[in-house]
Protein backbone atom coordinates (compact mmCIF):
# COMPACT_ATOMS: atom_id res chain seq x y z
CA UNK A 1 0.00 0.00 0.00
CA UNK A 2 2.67 2.46 1.05
CA UNK A 3 4.74 1.96 -2.10
CA UNK A 4 1.80 2.71 -4.37
CA UNK A 5 1.85 6.38 -3.62
CA UNK A 6 5.22 7.62 -2.40
CA UNK A 7 4.36 11.29 -2.95
CA UNK A 8 0.78 11.62 -1.79
CA UNK A 9 -0.76 11.96 1.60
CA UNK A 10 -2.19 8.44 1.61
CA UNK A 11 1.23 6.82 1.80
CA UNK A 12 2.24 9.01 4.69
CA UNK A 13 -1.03 8.27 6.42
CA UNK A 14 -0.60 4.49 6.25
CA UNK A 15 2.77 4.79 7.94
CA UNK A 16 1.14 6.39 10.94
CA UNK A 17 -0.53 4.17 13.51
CA UNK A 18 -4.05 4.75 12.21
CA UNK A 19 -4.99 6.96 9.27
CA UNK A 20 -7.54 9.60 10.10
CA UNK A 21 -10.98 8.40 9.08
CA UNK A 22 -11.82 11.70 7.40
CA UNK A 23 -8.82 11.39 5.09
CA UNK A 24 -9.79 7.86 4.11
CA UNK A 25 -13.39 8.85 3.41
CA UNK A 26 -12.25 11.77 1.29
CA UNK A 27 -9.84 9.61 -0.69
CA UNK A 28 -12.56 7.02 -1.26
CA UNK A 29 -15.00 9.67 -2.50
CA UNK A 30 -12.44 10.98 -4.97
CA UNK A 31 -11.48 7.56 -6.31
CA UNK A 32 -12.16 6.36 -9.82
CA UNK A 33 -14.66 3.84 -8.44
CA UNK A 34 -16.68 6.64 -6.88
CA UNK A 35 -16.87 8.51 -10.19
CA UNK A 36 -17.86 5.34 -12.06
CA UNK A 37 -20.57 4.64 -9.48
CA UNK A 38 -21.89 8.19 -9.75
CA UNK A 39 -21.96 8.07 -13.56
CA UNK A 40 -23.74 4.72 -13.53
CA UNK A 41 -26.20 6.11 -11.00
CA UNK A 42 -26.96 9.07 -13.30
CA UNK A 43 -27.48 6.69 -16.23
CA UNK A 44 -29.74 4.43 -14.14
CA UNK A 45 -31.70 7.47 -12.96
CA UNK A 46 -32.22 8.55 -16.58
CA UNK A 47 -33.45 5.15 -17.65
CA UNK A 48 -35.67 4.89 -14.60
CA UNK A 49 -37.18 8.34 -15.22
CA UNK A 50 -37.88 7.30 -18.80
CA UNK A 51 -39.55 4.06 -17.73
CA UNK A 52 -41.53 5.93 -15.10
CA UNK A 53 -42.93 8.10 -17.87
CA UNK A 54 -44.11 5.10 -19.84
CA UNK A 55 -41.42 5.21 -22.48
CA UNK A 56 -41.34 1.79 -24.10
CA UNK A 57 -38.34 -0.48 -23.67
CA UNK A 58 -37.80 -0.62 -27.45
CA UNK A 59 -37.64 3.14 -27.69
CA UNK A 60 -35.22 3.32 -24.77
CA UNK A 61 -33.02 0.72 -26.41
CA UNK A 62 -33.08 2.60 -29.71
CA UNK A 63 -32.26 5.85 -27.92
CA UNK A 64 -29.31 4.12 -26.27
CA UNK A 65 -28.03 2.89 -29.62
CA UNK A 66 -28.41 6.41 -31.05
CA UNK A 67 -26.56 7.63 -27.98
CA UNK A 68 -23.66 5.36 -28.86
CA UNK A 69 -23.70 6.87 -32.36
CA UNK A 70 -23.72 10.41 -31.01
CA UNK A 71 -20.95 9.33 -28.65
CA UNK A 72 -18.89 8.21 -31.64
CA UNK A 73 -19.35 11.63 -33.27
CA UNK A 74 -18.46 13.43 -30.04
CA UNK A 75 -15.46 11.14 -29.60
CA UNK A 76 -14.01 12.13 -32.97
CA UNK A 77 -14.07 15.77 -31.90
CA UNK A 78 -13.07 15.09 -28.31
CA UNK A 79 -9.99 13.06 -29.22
CA UNK A 80 -8.65 15.92 -31.33
CA UNK A 81 -9.42 18.33 -28.52
CA UNK A 82 -7.67 16.21 -25.91
CA UNK A 83 -4.61 15.64 -28.15
CA UNK A 84 -4.24 19.37 -28.78
CA UNK A 85 -4.63 20.02 -25.07
CA UNK A 86 -2.09 17.34 -24.22
CA UNK A 87 0.59 18.64 -26.55
CA UNK A 88 -0.12 22.40 -26.47
CA UNK A 89 -1.69 22.70 -23.00
CA UNK A 90 -4.57 25.00 -23.85
CA UNK A 91 -8.30 24.42 -24.36
CA UNK A 92 -8.95 24.97 -28.06
CA UNK A 93 -12.34 26.66 -28.26
CA UNK A 94 -12.18 26.77 -32.05
CA UNK A 95 -12.42 22.99 -32.25
CA UNK A 96 -16.19 23.16 -32.71
CA UNK A 97 -15.71 25.46 -35.70
CA UNK A 98 -13.37 22.82 -37.20
CA UNK A 99 -16.21 20.32 -36.90
CA UNK A 100 -18.57 22.67 -38.76
CA UNK A 101 -15.97 23.53 -41.36
CA UNK A 102 -15.39 19.83 -42.07
CA UNK A 103 -19.09 19.24 -42.61
CA UNK A 104 -19.45 22.22 -44.97
CA UNK A 105 -16.29 21.47 -46.94
CA UNK A 106 -17.54 17.93 -47.54
CA UNK A 107 -20.82 19.51 -48.69
CA UNK A 108 -18.89 21.73 -51.11
CA UNK A 109 -16.95 18.77 -52.49
CA UNK A 110 -20.16 16.85 -53.04
CA UNK A 111 -21.53 19.71 -55.11
CA UNK A 112 -18.69 19.38 -57.60
CA UNK A 113 -18.34 15.59 -57.59
CA UNK A 114 -20.58 13.63 -59.98
CA UNK A 115 -23.54 12.10 -58.17
CA UNK A 116 -23.67 8.32 -58.10
CA UNK A 117 -26.50 6.05 -56.98
CA UNK A 118 -26.99 5.41 -53.27
CA UNK A 119 -24.96 2.56 -51.86
CA UNK A 120 -27.87 0.57 -50.44
CA UNK A 121 -28.78 0.14 -47.64
CA UNK A 122 -27.14 3.50 -46.95
CA UNK A 123 -28.61 6.78 -48.11
CA UNK A 124 -25.30 8.09 -49.49
CA UNK A 125 -23.32 7.34 -52.62
CA UNK A 126 -19.58 7.07 -53.21
CA UNK A 127 -19.29 10.85 -53.70
CA UNK A 128 -20.12 11.30 -50.01
CA UNK A 129 -17.25 9.02 -49.00
CA UNK A 130 -14.92 10.83 -51.39
CA UNK A 131 -15.98 14.18 -49.93
CA UNK A 132 -15.29 12.86 -46.42
CA UNK A 133 -11.83 11.68 -47.41
CA UNK A 134 -11.09 15.06 -49.05
CA UNK A 135 -12.48 17.20 -46.23
CA UNK A 136 -10.43 15.51 -43.51
CA UNK A 137 -6.92 16.49 -44.63
CA UNK A 138 -8.15 19.89 -45.79
CA UNK A 139 -9.43 20.81 -42.32
CA UNK A 140 -6.18 19.40 -40.95
CA UNK A 141 -4.30 21.88 -43.10
CA UNK A 142 -6.60 24.73 -42.00
CA UNK A 143 -5.85 23.82 -38.37
CA UNK A 144 -2.14 23.82 -39.14
CA UNK A 145 -2.51 27.17 -40.89
CA UNK A 146 -4.17 28.71 -37.84
CA UNK A 147 -1.29 27.42 -35.74
CA UNK A 148 1.26 28.99 -38.03
CA UNK A 149 -0.52 32.34 -38.15
CA UNK A 150 -1.74 32.62 -34.56
CA UNK A 151 -0.66 30.02 -32.02
CA UNK A 152 2.97 29.60 -33.04
CA UNK A 153 3.53 33.31 -32.58
CA UNK A 154 1.99 33.13 -29.14
CA UNK A 155 4.21 30.14 -28.33
CA UNK A 156 7.33 32.03 -29.32
CA UNK A 157 6.32 34.87 -27.01
CA UNK A 158 5.65 32.41 -24.18
CA UNK A 159 2.12 33.78 -24.00
CA UNK A 160 -0.07 32.86 -21.06
CA UNK A 161 -2.75 30.19 -21.17
CA UNK A 162 -5.47 32.83 -21.11
CA UNK A 163 -4.15 34.42 -24.29
CA UNK A 164 -4.10 31.06 -26.07
CA UNK A 165 -7.65 30.28 -24.95
CA UNK A 166 -8.91 33.75 -25.97
CA UNK A 167 -7.16 33.52 -29.33
CA UNK A 168 -8.83 30.18 -29.98
CA UNK A 169 -12.20 31.66 -29.02
CA UNK A 170 -11.57 34.46 -31.50
CA UNK A 171 -10.71 31.88 -34.16
CA UNK A 172 -13.95 30.07 -33.38
CA UNK A 173 -15.97 33.23 -34.09
CA UNK A 174 -13.85 34.01 -37.14
CA UNK A 175 -14.42 30.58 -38.68
CA UNK A 176 -18.11 30.63 -37.87
CA UNK A 177 -18.53 34.05 -39.51
CA UNK A 178 -16.65 32.76 -42.52
CA UNK A 179 -19.07 29.84 -42.79
CA UNK A 180 -22.06 32.21 -42.50
CA UNK A 181 -20.50 34.41 -45.17
CA UNK A 182 -19.96 31.59 -47.66
CA UNK A 183 -22.93 29.31 -47.04
CA UNK A 184 -25.41 31.56 -45.28
CA UNK A 185 -27.57 30.75 -42.25
CA UNK A 186 -29.75 28.12 -44.01
CA UNK A 187 -29.87 24.44 -43.13
CA UNK A 188 -28.53 21.95 -45.63
CA UNK A 189 -28.75 18.20 -46.07
CA UNK A 190 -26.13 16.07 -47.78
CA UNK A 191 -29.02 14.43 -49.60
CA UNK A 192 -32.35 16.22 -49.94
CA UNK A 193 -35.35 13.97 -49.62
CA UNK A 194 -33.58 10.70 -50.12
CA UNK A 195 -35.10 7.63 -48.51
CA UNK A 196 -33.23 6.45 -45.45
CA UNK A 197 -35.29 3.51 -44.25
CA UNK A 198 -35.11 2.16 -40.74
CA UNK A 199 -33.60 -1.30 -40.48
CA UNK A 200 -35.48 -4.09 -38.76
CA UNK A 201 -33.14 -5.33 -36.09
CA UNK A 202 -33.76 -7.86 -33.32
CA UNK A 203 -35.36 -6.54 -30.11
CA UNK A 204 -37.27 -4.01 -32.24
CA UNK A 205 -34.33 -1.60 -32.28
CA UNK A 206 -35.07 1.11 -34.82
CA UNK A 207 -31.82 2.24 -36.41
CA UNK A 208 -30.97 3.55 -39.86
CA UNK A 209 -28.14 1.98 -41.82
CA UNK A 210 -26.47 5.40 -41.91
CA UNK A 211 -26.40 5.48 -38.13
CA UNK A 212 -24.72 2.10 -37.98
CA UNK A 213 -22.23 3.32 -40.55
CA UNK A 214 -21.43 6.31 -38.33
CA UNK A 215 -20.89 4.10 -35.29
CA UNK A 216 -18.64 1.68 -37.16
CA UNK A 217 -16.61 4.40 -38.88
CA UNK A 218 -16.20 6.42 -35.69
CA UNK A 219 -14.92 3.39 -33.84
CA UNK A 220 -12.64 2.38 -36.71
CA UNK A 221 -11.09 5.86 -36.75
CA UNK A 222 -10.70 5.89 -32.97
CA UNK A 223 -9.02 2.47 -33.21
CA UNK A 224 -6.65 3.77 -35.86
CA UNK A 225 -5.76 6.74 -33.67
CA UNK A 226 -5.01 4.35 -30.83
CA UNK A 227 -2.70 2.28 -33.05
CA UNK A 228 -1.04 5.44 -34.29
CA UNK A 229 -0.38 6.67 -30.76
CA UNK A 230 0.94 3.37 -29.43
CA UNK A 231 2.74 1.83 -32.42
CA UNK A 232 4.17 4.56 -34.62
CA UNK A 233 7.16 6.80 -34.07
CA UNK A 234 5.13 9.98 -34.49
CA UNK A 235 2.48 8.67 -32.10
CA UNK A 236 5.03 7.90 -29.42
CA UNK A 237 6.62 11.29 -29.99
CA UNK A 238 3.18 12.89 -29.47
CA UNK A 239 2.66 11.09 -26.18
CA UNK A 240 6.18 11.97 -25.09
CA UNK A 241 5.68 15.63 -26.00
CA UNK A 242 2.37 15.71 -24.15
CA UNK A 243 4.02 14.14 -21.11
CA UNK A 244 7.15 16.31 -20.98
CA UNK A 245 7.92 18.72 -23.85
CA UNK A 246 11.36 19.79 -22.58
CA UNK A 247 12.55 16.22 -22.20
CA UNK A 248 11.10 15.35 -25.62
CA UNK A 249 13.42 17.91 -27.20
CA UNK A 250 16.37 16.61 -25.20
CA UNK A 251 15.63 13.11 -26.47
CA UNK A 252 15.82 14.30 -30.06
CA UNK A 253 12.17 15.01 -30.85
CA UNK A 254 11.44 18.06 -32.95
CA UNK A 255 8.45 19.22 -30.94
CA UNK A 256 7.37 21.81 -33.51
CA UNK A 257 6.89 18.97 -35.96
CA UNK A 258 4.94 16.99 -33.40
CA UNK A 259 2.74 20.04 -32.82
CA UNK A 260 2.13 20.36 -36.57
CA UNK A 261 1.01 16.73 -36.85
CA UNK A 262 -1.15 17.10 -33.77
CA UNK A 263 -3.04 19.96 -35.44
CA UNK A 264 -3.40 18.04 -38.68
CA UNK A 265 -4.71 15.00 -36.86
CA UNK A 266 -7.01 17.00 -34.61
CA UNK A 267 -8.41 18.92 -37.60
CA UNK A 268 -8.95 15.77 -39.66
CA UNK A 269 -10.74 14.00 -36.79
CA UNK A 270 -12.93 17.06 -36.18
CA UNK A 271 -13.82 17.09 -39.89
CA UNK A 272 -14.79 13.41 -39.76
CA UNK A 273 -16.96 14.13 -36.72
CA UNK A 274 -18.61 17.05 -38.51
CA UNK A 275 -19.38 15.05 -41.64
CA UNK A 276 -20.93 12.22 -39.59
CA UNK A 277 -22.92 14.69 -37.53
CA UNK A 278 -24.11 16.34 -40.74
CA UNK A 279 -25.14 12.97 -42.14
CA UNK A 280 -27.08 12.05 -39.00
CA UNK A 281 -28.95 15.37 -38.85
CA UNK A 282 -28.36 18.45 -40.99
CA UNK A 283 -25.71 21.09 -41.65
CA UNK A 284 -26.04 24.29 -39.64
CA UNK A 285 -23.42 26.96 -39.01
CA UNK A 286 -23.89 26.39 -35.27
CA UNK A 287 -23.56 22.61 -35.35
CA UNK A 288 -19.97 22.50 -34.10
CA UNK A 289 -20.64 25.10 -31.48
CA UNK A 290 -23.35 22.89 -29.98
CA UNK A 291 -20.95 19.94 -29.99
CA UNK A 292 -18.24 21.93 -28.21
CA UNK A 293 -19.74 21.54 -24.77
CA UNK A 294 -20.29 17.76 -25.04
CA UNK A 295 -16.75 17.47 -26.42
CA UNK A 296 -15.26 19.36 -23.48
CA UNK A 297 -17.42 17.36 -21.08
CA UNK A 298 -16.11 14.12 -22.63
CA UNK A 299 -12.50 15.33 -22.45
CA UNK A 300 -12.81 16.35 -18.80
CA UNK A 301 -14.66 13.21 -17.83
CA UNK A 302 -12.04 10.98 -19.43
CA UNK A 303 -9.09 12.92 -18.07
CA UNK A 304 -7.64 15.84 -20.02
CA UNK A 305 -4.97 14.77 -22.49
CA UNK A 306 -6.06 11.13 -22.53
CA UNK A 307 -7.52 9.90 -25.88
CA UNK A 308 -8.88 6.64 -24.45
CA UNK A 309 -10.59 8.63 -21.72
CA UNK A 310 -12.08 10.98 -24.32
CA UNK A 311 -13.66 8.01 -26.10
CA UNK A 312 -15.20 6.61 -22.90
CA UNK A 313 -16.34 10.08 -21.84
CA UNK A 314 -17.87 10.73 -25.26
CA UNK A 315 -19.86 7.48 -25.16
CA UNK A 316 -21.22 8.27 -21.69
CA UNK A 317 -22.15 11.82 -22.73
CA UNK A 318 -23.71 10.61 -25.99
CA UNK A 319 -25.87 8.00 -24.31
CA UNK A 320 -27.01 10.31 -21.50
CA UNK A 321 -27.91 13.08 -23.95
CA UNK A 322 -29.97 10.78 -26.14
CA UNK A 323 -31.71 8.89 -23.36
CA UNK A 324 -32.59 12.22 -21.74
CA UNK A 325 -34.54 13.15 -24.88
CA UNK A 326 -37.05 10.42 -23.94
CA UNK A 327 -38.55 12.90 -21.51
CA UNK A 328 -36.68 16.18 -22.09
CA UNK A 329 -36.66 18.61 -24.98
CA UNK A 330 -33.60 17.68 -27.13
CA UNK A 331 -32.46 21.31 -26.86
CA UNK A 332 -31.51 20.53 -23.26
CA UNK A 333 -28.96 17.95 -24.39
CA UNK A 334 -25.94 20.17 -23.76
CA UNK A 335 -27.29 20.89 -20.28
CA UNK A 336 -27.08 17.18 -19.51
CA UNK A 337 -23.49 17.11 -20.75
CA UNK A 338 -22.75 20.17 -18.68
CA UNK A 339 -24.23 18.61 -15.55
CA UNK A 340 -22.05 15.52 -16.00
CA UNK A 341 -18.98 17.70 -16.54
CA UNK A 342 -19.65 19.64 -13.34
CA UNK A 343 -20.23 16.40 -11.44
CA UNK A 344 -16.88 15.07 -12.65
CA UNK A 345 -15.11 18.28 -11.70
CA UNK A 346 -16.62 18.13 -8.23
CA UNK A 347 -15.87 14.48 -7.55
CA UNK A 348 -12.63 13.81 -9.38
CA UNK A 349 -11.24 16.79 -11.33
CA UNK A 350 -8.56 14.66 -13.01
CA UNK A 351 -11.26 12.52 -14.65
CA UNK A 352 -11.67 8.78 -15.10
CA UNK A 353 -8.24 8.08 -16.52
CA UNK A 354 -6.32 11.03 -15.12
CA UNK A 355 -3.29 10.59 -12.91
CA UNK A 356 -3.87 10.96 -9.19
CA UNK A 357 -3.59 14.38 -7.67
CA UNK A 358 -3.96 16.07 -11.07
Amino acid sequence: MADLDPTGATGAATDATSPPLRERVRAALQSRTALVVIILAVLALLWWSAVARDVSAERLLSLTVWGVMLGGVIALGAIGLTLVYGVLKFPNFSHGAMVTLGAYLAFAFMAVLPQGPALRPFSFGWEFLAALVLAMPLVGVVALGLDRVVYRRLRRQNASLVLFAMASLAMAFFLRSLIYLIWGPDFYFYYDARANPVLDLPLNIRVQADQLFIVVLAFAIVGLVHLLLTRTRMGKAMRATANNPDLAQIRGINTERVIAWTWIMGGALAAAGGVMYGLSSQLRPEMGFWLLLPMFAAVIMGGVGNPRGALVGALIIGVTQQVATAFLNPAYGPAVAFALMVLTLLVRPQGLFGARGG
Binding site: R233, D246, L247, I250, R251, A355
Partner: protein, 235 residues
Protein backbone atom coordinates in the same frame (compact mmCIF):
# COMPACT_ATOMS: atom_id res chain seq x y z
CA UNK B 1 40.92 20.10 -29.65
CA UNK B 2 38.60 19.38 -26.71
CA UNK B 3 35.38 17.48 -27.32
CA UNK B 4 33.30 20.16 -25.62
CA UNK B 5 34.38 23.72 -25.09
CA UNK B 6 32.41 26.37 -23.23
CA UNK B 7 34.05 29.65 -24.07
CA UNK B 8 33.40 32.78 -22.00
CA UNK B 9 29.67 32.19 -21.65
CA UNK B 10 27.44 34.74 -19.98
CA UNK B 11 23.76 33.88 -19.75
CA UNK B 12 20.68 33.85 -17.55
CA UNK B 13 16.89 33.88 -17.36
CA UNK B 14 15.01 36.95 -18.54
CA UNK B 15 17.00 39.94 -17.28
CA UNK B 16 18.67 37.97 -14.52
CA UNK B 17 22.29 37.13 -15.16
CA UNK B 18 23.19 33.72 -13.74
CA UNK B 19 26.47 32.90 -15.47
CA UNK B 20 29.32 35.33 -16.02
CA UNK B 21 32.17 34.50 -18.35
CA UNK B 22 32.19 30.77 -17.66
CA UNK B 23 34.74 28.68 -19.53
CA UNK B 24 35.33 24.98 -19.32
CA UNK B 25 36.35 22.07 -21.49
CA UNK B 26 35.84 18.30 -21.64
CA UNK B 27 38.34 16.08 -23.45
CA UNK B 28 37.26 12.82 -25.07
CA UNK B 29 36.86 10.01 -22.53
CA UNK B 30 37.13 12.22 -19.45
CA UNK B 31 34.96 12.50 -16.37
CA UNK B 32 34.61 16.15 -15.49
CA UNK B 33 32.77 17.24 -12.38
CA UNK B 34 31.37 20.68 -11.66
CA UNK B 35 30.81 21.40 -7.99
CA UNK B 36 29.77 24.45 -6.05
CA UNK B 37 27.18 25.70 -3.61
CA UNK B 38 23.48 25.95 -4.39
CA UNK B 39 22.69 28.76 -6.79
CA UNK B 40 26.21 28.84 -8.23
CA UNK B 41 24.79 28.27 -11.71
CA UNK B 42 25.84 24.64 -12.17
CA UNK B 43 22.57 23.48 -13.72
CA UNK B 44 22.41 26.63 -15.82
CA UNK B 45 25.73 25.68 -17.42
CA UNK B 46 24.14 22.39 -18.46
CA UNK B 47 21.15 24.17 -19.96
CA UNK B 48 23.35 26.47 -22.00
CA UNK B 49 25.49 23.57 -23.21
CA UNK B 50 22.39 21.70 -24.30
CA UNK B 51 20.69 24.54 -26.14
CA UNK B 52 17.86 25.03 -23.64
CA UNK B 53 19.21 28.47 -22.87
CA UNK B 54 21.04 30.78 -25.28
CA UNK B 55 24.36 32.33 -24.31
CA UNK B 56 24.22 36.14 -24.21
CA UNK B 57 27.93 36.20 -24.85
CA UNK B 58 30.49 33.55 -25.65
CA UNK B 59 29.82 30.24 -27.30
CA UNK B 60 29.61 26.48 -26.89
CA UNK B 61 31.58 24.26 -29.25
CA UNK B 62 31.28 20.53 -29.83
CA UNK B 63 34.15 19.11 -31.91
CA UNK B 64 35.05 22.67 -32.80
CA UNK B 65 31.58 23.38 -34.19
CA UNK B 66 29.58 26.23 -32.69
CA UNK B 67 26.37 24.68 -31.31
CA UNK B 68 25.11 27.61 -29.24
CA UNK B 69 22.26 28.33 -31.68
CA UNK B 70 21.13 24.74 -32.19
CA UNK B 71 17.93 23.36 -30.61
CA UNK B 72 18.34 20.37 -28.24
CA UNK B 73 16.82 17.92 -30.73
CA UNK B 74 19.63 18.64 -33.18
CA UNK B 75 22.37 18.61 -30.57
CA UNK B 76 21.57 15.00 -29.59
CA UNK B 77 22.35 13.86 -33.14
CA UNK B 78 25.91 15.23 -32.75
CA UNK B 79 26.87 12.74 -30.06
CA UNK B 80 25.99 14.54 -26.84
CA UNK B 81 23.11 13.47 -24.59
CA UNK B 82 21.73 14.98 -21.42
CA UNK B 83 20.07 13.74 -18.24
CA UNK B 84 18.34 16.64 -16.46
CA UNK B 85 18.06 16.63 -12.69
CA UNK B 86 14.26 16.48 -12.49
CA UNK B 87 11.50 15.37 -14.85
CA UNK B 88 14.04 13.25 -16.71
CA UNK B 89 11.77 10.38 -17.75
CA UNK B 90 8.40 10.17 -19.54
CA UNK B 91 6.26 9.14 -16.57
CA UNK B 92 3.18 8.20 -18.65
CA UNK B 93 5.11 5.88 -20.96
CA UNK B 94 6.48 2.42 -20.27
CA UNK B 95 10.14 1.78 -19.48
CA UNK B 96 10.63 0.25 -22.90
CA UNK B 97 8.98 3.18 -24.69
CA UNK B 98 11.21 5.54 -22.75
CA UNK B 99 14.28 3.74 -24.00
CA UNK B 100 12.99 3.64 -27.57
CA UNK B 101 12.34 7.37 -27.49
CA UNK B 102 15.92 7.84 -26.32
CA UNK B 103 16.88 6.58 -29.76
CA UNK B 104 14.25 8.68 -31.55
CA UNK B 105 16.85 10.20 -33.87
CA UNK B 106 17.92 6.72 -34.92
CA UNK B 107 16.33 4.72 -37.72
CA UNK B 108 14.78 1.39 -36.67
CA UNK B 109 17.32 -1.42 -36.93
CA UNK B 110 19.86 -0.61 -34.26
CA UNK B 111 17.32 0.21 -31.57
CA UNK B 112 16.81 -3.39 -30.39
CA UNK B 113 20.52 -4.00 -30.06
CA UNK B 114 21.08 -0.78 -28.10
CA UNK B 115 18.15 -1.60 -25.87
CA UNK B 116 19.72 -4.98 -25.09
CA UNK B 117 22.93 -3.22 -24.11
CA UNK B 118 21.14 -0.84 -21.75
CA UNK B 119 19.30 -3.78 -20.16
CA UNK B 120 22.68 -5.40 -19.60
CA UNK B 121 23.95 -2.27 -17.84
CA UNK B 122 20.73 -1.90 -15.81
CA UNK B 123 19.12 -5.36 -15.45
CA UNK B 124 16.44 -3.83 -13.25
CA UNK B 125 15.05 -1.97 -16.25
CA UNK B 126 14.53 -5.20 -18.15
CA UNK B 127 12.41 -6.59 -15.31
CA UNK B 128 10.29 -3.45 -15.49
CA UNK B 129 10.22 -3.08 -19.27
CA UNK B 130 6.42 -2.98 -19.57
CA UNK B 131 5.80 -0.94 -16.47
CA UNK B 132 4.71 2.68 -16.51
CA UNK B 133 7.89 4.63 -15.81
CA UNK B 134 6.19 7.00 -13.37
CA UNK B 135 5.54 4.14 -10.96
CA UNK B 136 9.20 3.36 -10.34
CA UNK B 137 11.43 4.28 -7.40
CA UNK B 138 13.87 7.18 -7.49
CA UNK B 139 16.87 4.95 -8.18
CA UNK B 140 15.11 3.11 -10.98
CA UNK B 141 14.05 6.43 -12.52
CA UNK B 142 17.65 7.61 -12.50
CA UNK B 143 18.75 4.35 -14.16
CA UNK B 144 16.06 4.79 -16.82
CA UNK B 145 17.00 8.42 -17.41
CA UNK B 146 20.64 7.46 -17.89
CA UNK B 147 19.71 4.45 -20.00
CA UNK B 148 17.54 6.57 -22.31
CA UNK B 149 20.30 9.11 -22.73
CA UNK B 150 22.75 6.33 -23.63
CA UNK B 151 20.51 4.93 -26.38
CA UNK B 152 22.10 7.18 -28.98
CA UNK B 153 25.56 5.94 -28.06
CA UNK B 154 26.83 9.45 -27.26
CA UNK B 155 30.48 10.39 -26.92
CA UNK B 156 29.61 12.83 -24.18
CA UNK B 157 26.98 12.41 -21.48
CA UNK B 158 25.76 15.34 -19.39
CA UNK B 159 24.49 14.42 -15.94
CA UNK B 160 22.76 16.97 -13.74
CA UNK B 161 22.84 15.87 -10.08
CA UNK B 162 22.60 12.12 -10.77
CA UNK B 163 22.60 11.31 -7.05
CA UNK B 164 20.05 13.90 -5.91
CA UNK B 165 17.37 12.48 -3.65
CA UNK B 166 18.66 8.90 -3.76
CA UNK B 167 19.28 6.57 -0.82
CA UNK B 168 23.03 6.26 0.01
CA UNK B 169 23.16 2.69 -1.26
CA UNK B 170 21.61 3.74 -4.57
CA UNK B 171 24.07 6.62 -4.86
CA UNK B 172 26.92 4.08 -4.81
CA UNK B 173 25.21 2.02 -7.51
CA UNK B 174 24.66 5.04 -9.75
CA UNK B 175 28.24 6.29 -9.32
CA UNK B 176 29.57 2.81 -10.08
CA UNK B 177 27.51 2.71 -13.29
CA UNK B 178 28.77 6.15 -14.29
CA UNK B 179 32.33 4.85 -14.03
CA UNK B 180 31.38 1.78 -16.04
CA UNK B 181 29.81 3.91 -18.76
CA UNK B 182 32.93 6.06 -18.80
CA UNK B 183 35.13 2.99 -19.20
CA UNK B 184 33.36 2.22 -22.47
CA UNK B 185 34.79 5.50 -23.77
CA UNK B 186 31.94 7.91 -23.06
CA UNK B 187 33.10 11.26 -21.70
CA UNK B 188 31.03 12.55 -18.78
CA UNK B 189 30.30 16.06 -17.64
CA UNK B 190 28.44 16.09 -14.37
CA UNK B 191 27.13 18.52 -11.85
CA UNK B 192 27.01 17.16 -8.33
CA UNK B 193 26.03 18.25 -4.89
CA UNK B 194 27.75 15.18 -3.51
CA UNK B 195 31.00 17.06 -4.15
CA UNK B 196 33.64 14.93 -2.45
CA UNK B 197 32.45 11.66 -3.99
CA UNK B 198 32.10 13.11 -7.46
CA UNK B 199 35.53 14.77 -7.36
CA UNK B 200 37.14 11.49 -6.34
CA UNK B 201 35.89 9.75 -9.45
CA UNK B 202 36.49 12.70 -11.77
CA UNK B 203 39.58 13.21 -13.87
CA UNK B 204 39.15 16.92 -13.53
CA UNK B 205 36.90 19.22 -11.62
CA UNK B 206 35.65 22.79 -11.71
CA UNK B 207 34.49 24.70 -8.69
CA UNK B 208 31.81 27.29 -9.37
CA UNK B 209 30.55 30.12 -7.21
CA UNK B 210 28.30 33.08 -7.96
CA UNK B 211 27.98 32.22 -11.61
CA UNK B 212 31.72 32.01 -12.28
CA UNK B 213 34.18 29.17 -12.30
CA UNK B 214 36.80 29.84 -9.65
CA UNK B 215 39.06 26.83 -9.33
CA UNK B 216 40.02 24.13 -11.79
CA UNK B 217 42.15 21.07 -11.33
CA UNK B 218 42.42 17.28 -11.24
CA UNK B 219 39.44 15.82 -9.38
CA UNK B 220 41.15 14.02 -6.47
CA UNK B 221 43.52 16.95 -5.94
CA UNK B 222 40.54 19.33 -5.67
CA UNK B 223 38.89 17.00 -3.21
CA UNK B 224 41.98 17.21 -1.00
CA UNK B 225 42.57 20.93 -1.50
CA UNK B 226 42.09 22.57 1.92
CA UNK B 227 40.75 25.81 0.40
CA UNK B 228 38.16 24.02 -1.71
CA UNK B 229 37.27 21.84 1.23
CA UNK B 230 36.80 24.82 3.52
CA UNK B 231 34.80 26.81 0.99
CA UNK B 232 32.68 24.26 -0.78
CA UNK B 233 32.88 20.83 0.77
CA UNK B 234 31.65 21.91 4.14
CA UNK B 235 34.61 20.76 6.19
Amino acid sequence: MPLLKVDGVTSGYGDMEVLRDVSLAVEAGEIVSIIGPNGAGKSTVMKVVFGQLRPWQGKVELDGRDISRLPPYEIVTLGMCYVPQVANIFTDLTVEENLELGAFALAGREVAERKARIYELFPRLKERARQEAGKMSGGERQMLAMGSALMLDPRLLLLDEPSAGLAPKMVDVIFERIIRVNQTGVAILMVEQNARESLKMAHRGYVMANGQNRVEGPGPALADDPDVARLYLGG
